[in-house]
């Protein structure tokens, strides 16, 4: 006897809540994604490969995933430091900094895009500083990187903060009584406890950066082969009414994201097995 599909319950509203949930999920999320996959199937594997296997598309995909990886790595380090400072230390202005971490979530991406461009363009406040050093930020890959760092900033901090708040001081005290210095305790005792949450934040930040469009297109310059991101290619294909081409690139992005998240999940399982659950 297998487990029943649905256990009996005295709670009311089963039909209504299940009906609304499954209907809306199907209509709004699953059906449109199904339409994308169907378009891919009807286009065929050869068609998809022919679309993706072009210099311009490879460069865009490689650029999107490479810069997203760099941005997520930067955010991993910055996010853990921010989480530590915000949970462990008490200083004036802490609440403002804590709230500021969420601004990239609350600020529309197009707004962030034009703001970052104004800031880092050669005549902008930061852009002018870098220009004197002979370093261009806006309309280069550096600009894209900064935009991706901005949109992914809150993820690691927000996943790691609750874990730091739950660490028992006794663990660190035990480490100290056993003769470990503070640095040793942080790297060997505290960091392993934070790592699974930090990796989750890293994965979320990466997934967000790969698909990001609004904050990037203004600062990128959008030069084919150099600063053209994968989501922009989809938009260009759609503007040329090439639905097959757009679907092919969309599917390629979904597949690569899926493989990356799978890899991160496996790393996480491996790190949990090695270090144990927290």
């Amino acid at each position: 006897m297998g487990r029943p599909l649905l256990y009996r319950s005295p709670m009311p509203g089963l039909g209504l809540s299940m009906g609304i949930t499954l209907t809306m999920l199907s209509l709004i999320v699953l059906l449109p994604i199904g339409a994308l996959l169907l378009q891919g199937v009807s286009y065929g594997a050869e068609g998809i490969w022919a679309t993706v296997n072009r210099e311009r598309v490879w460069q865009a995909l490689f650029l999107s995933f490479r810069l997203s990886l760099f941005a997520a790595m930067f955010n991993l380090v910055l996010g853990v430091i921010l989480a530590w400072v915000l949970v462990r230390y008490r200083f004036p202005g802490r609440r403002i900094l804590d709230a500021a971490v969420d601004l990239p979530f609350a600020l529309p991406t197009a707004v962030a895009g034009i703001a970052l461009t104004a800031l880092y363009a050669p005549n902008g406040a930061f852009g002018a500083l870098f220009k004197d050093l002979g370093w261009r930020i806006a309309y280069t890959q550096w600009g894209i990187l900064i935009a991706l760092i901005f949109v992914g900033l809150p993820f690691v901090t927000r996943t790691v903060q609750p874990v730091i708040a739950e660490i028992e001081r006794e663990v660190e005290e035990a480490s100290a009584t056993l003769g470990a210095g503070r640095f040793h305790t942080l790297t060997r005792v505290v960091w392993p406890m934070l790592m699974p949450a930090a990796l989750t934040g890293f994965a979320l930040s990466l997934a967000r950066a790969v698909g990001e469009y609004g904050s990037v297109i203004f600062i990128a310059g959008n030069k084919p082969l150099v600063t053209e991101i994968a989501p922009l290619l989809i938009v260009i294909q759609l503007e040329e009414f090439s639905y097959d081409g757009a679907a092919a690139i969309g599917i390629a992005m979904l597949v690569i994201s899926f493989l990356m998240l799978l890899f991160i999940n496996l790393t996480q399982i491996w790190s949990r097995r090695r270090i144990g659950y927290v």
């Binding site: 990239p104 703001a115 902008g124």
Partner: protein, 289 residues
């Protein structure tokens, strides 16, 4: 030596050295100043670069006002839909036991891991004028893509998980006992919902609505793909910002951006207040530390 100085000199073995501590705080403040505060200041500085009257008059035209109205309308449809779905999904997931629950939650979270552009693409592929469904709907005089329904659908897609995600952890934490008590005392299903469940989840619900609304009004990628960018008809505020910006109407673009940035600041303020005043009603990961 007084006791006070002794206390100050004492450092617990679980604290970092004061120098390391202040360096870390300084680094955190500097990083946020460069990455977050500087762009925020630039928006308002650019909007007001030609003065208040120029900023206000740049928004006082037909296209800009139509964009503001459209954005408010889209949010007014998308947010209530999201609330209904969020409550239904959270009720179904936390009040019944069934197989495949984890899979269902993964599906609800799916829109977070799909690029907004891909989300828009999916809707175009389903309802575009070249598809079976789309061409039929256009013939019936009810176009979806390049019209309001498509923008609303795209917005609901990208905001889909917001309310459900806030409610599910809270309703798991609260358990079913109170609702079961209400039922044994003879309350009807709706009576129980409005007198027991809703008061218990109201702060988490408000929190979800806040985040959902901010995203609904600010969504750009998905909406840009389905809107067709017909001036004064299918341009939401973020799409209008792009058009102004590409036409070198800097003051207009940044004034519109300042409106949305102000909305973001209000959202953050209310969110922080909720986290501080009503932490008990929010999910554990939302409590302020």
């Amino acid at each position: 030596m007084s006791d006070a100085t002794n206390l100050r000199a004492f450092r617990a073995p679980t604290d970092e050295a004061p120098l390391a501590r202040w360096l870390l705080i300084g680094f955190a403040a500097l990083a946020l100043a460069i990455l977050v505060f500087a762009p925020l200041i630039v928006i308002f500085a650019e909007a007001l670069s030609k003065g208040w009257s120029a900023a206000l008059s740049s928004l006082n035209n037909r296209d800009a006002l139509a964009a503001i109205r459209l954005t408010l309308l889209v949010a007014a449809i998308a947010v209530p839909v999201n609330v209904v779905f969020g409550i239904a999904a959270a009720w179904f997931i936390t009040r019944f036991d069934f197989r495949g629950k984890a899979f269902l939650i993964t599906l609800i979270d799916l829109p977070f891991s799909v690029s907004p552009v891909v989300a828009g693409l999916c809707i175009v592929l389903l309802f575009g004028a070249n598809t079976v469904i789309g061409s039929w709907l256009v013939a019936m005089g009810f176009p979806i893509v390049f019209a309001l329904p498509g923008i609303v659908l795209a917005t609901i897609f990208v905001t889909f998980p917001f309310v459900a995600r806030e409610l599910i952890p809270v309703m798991i934490e609260q358990g079913r006992a109170e609702e079961e008590a209400a039922l044994t005392l003879g309350a009807s299903g709706w009576h129980m919902f409005f007198t027991v469940t809703l008061p218990n989840i109201r702060w988490a619900l408000l929190y979800g609505v806040l985040l959902c609304n901010a995203r609904a009004m600010g969504e750009f990628g998905a909406v840009a793909v389905v809107s067709g960018k017909i001036r004064g008809q299918t341009t939401t505020m973020p799409v209008m910002i792009e058009m102004f910006y590409n036409e070198y109407l800097s003051v207009a673009a940044f004034s519109m951006a300042a409106l949305l940035a102000f909305l973001a600041l209000v959202t953050l303020l209310l969110k922080t207040l909720l986290e501080q005043r009503h932490a008990a009603g929010l999910s554990a990961s939302r409590k302020s530390h």
